[in-house]
Symmetry: C2
Subunit: 282 residues, 2 copies
Amino acid sequence: MESERRQFLKTVGGVTLGMVAFSGMAGLAACNAKEVTEGASAKAIPPVTPATTPPAAAQLVALPWPYKKLDPVAAAERAYTAYSNGGCMYGAFEGIVGELKAVAGEPFTTMPTAFAKYGGAGVSGWGTLCGALNGAAAAIYLVHEAKTGGPIINELYGWYGLEALPDYKPKTPKFEIATSVADSQLCHQSVTKWCDKTGFKTSSPERAERCAWLTASVVRYTVELLNKQADAGSITVVHAVPSTVKGCLVCHGKGGALENVHITNQTSCVSCHTVLPASHPK
Amino acid sequence: MESERRQFLKTVGGVTLGMVAFSGMAGLAACNAKEVTEGASAKAIPPVTPATTPPAAAQLVALPWPYKKLDPVAAAERAYTAYSNGGCMYGAFEGIVGELKAVAGEPFTTMPTAFAKYGGAGVSGWGTLCGALNGAAAAIYLVHEAKTGGPIINELYGWYGLEALPDYKPKTPKFEIATSVADSQLCHQSVTKWCDKTGFKTSSPERAERCAWLTASVVRYTVELLNKQADAGSITVVHAVPSTVKGCLVCHGKGGALENVHITNQTSCVSCHTVLPASHPK
């Protein structure tokens, strides 16, 4: 947060109100058209005569950005559509941030959401964190710091692990989709549980549709939580850490005799640790 | 990518070259100083007389942003320092993007890196994806699309799972740190393997220092890969998917008889699946 504040360029209305020195950022205040347009779209822009007055430099607005309440269904529908253009993490991030661009405008309009495409299939096919959860968490921390954003993530992730999902049916679905309980926040387990229950293969269009619905479901619940936080100043914890997990953390978690597990929140330990070693206390 | 392009505001030098309509984004072209400064730092800014000429609106530059080669050690040191201010994902993201802000300037200077604080401890203590890997992947996709960014992530994640880490010692370390092999990309397994090997507890300052070194190590290798890609147009795959994993994917992966695992890359299956069911083929 502090580094963001230090870099916050207080250039408003063409008037530099103040600027903290940032080593190596020479030329930042003066807009360099070549740099700004050097992205993939640069070739489409014809040369122009420079304006007499240099425009304001691109502005970094300090986080958290001011949240504006969204329609959960509109965000879910945007997420469902975006899934087809860049996968689950992009779908969730674009679902929320894209809606904020449309509803709240700046500073959300400065955020390029497409980088979130890295998170598909648990990041580039590695099967780790579900991309929808990854993208939703990223969006939550655009509008919240840890104190308020952490509890929202925790409720969202707890819900994801415990509920039968997907629970949002898009307005124009490709197929009917059955639900499953992931018992985990990992892409691998979430997908495999659904495939094992339904019989569909991972490369089937039905599995892709299931993940699109799931992305929309995650976005709808995230927006509901963000709206609740905006209205009430807090959320209701419905999906707390289960007592079974708390039991494991008595020894393995912080303050425990072993304290070798760097986890404070989890849906299940035994979903991976199906067999404990013979030496483990009963 | 297409949605980014559509929203790309071609406002350069105060001259609107062209703008594609974006539903609900009224007032986007005209800079609204109140909106731009409505972040956490807004209260620190005194009121000013508006400039005669409205400044350029905040600009969304289409991805991928143009990478400029970085000093891997400078980025690693920045990551090590940032870790202390926001954890592993922020450390990695700020390590790379912060260096790009300093070395390349815009458009990187428009990216608020602090949102990446959500990824600490495998996202808010959930022990899923290692935050250093999460932040590094996000940075990679700021400067690469999937075709080139995917292979860089795959080599980075493969390296993380197979190598004895951390392998970067900061210039002013707090402790000496022993290495361990994570055999995984998950925070939980990575930390527990190190704790079990060294005897340190997860809440110890030595464990935090280990994760700070690891964040710096991830950033150094990521920058080395990005530089190699910039120089040669490709990277060398040193840490490919192990044959043991490929063996499992013959049946469980795409095209296999079961095809119930949505994974194309992985370091190990048996690190979690330590005991196979009796019915599993030998």
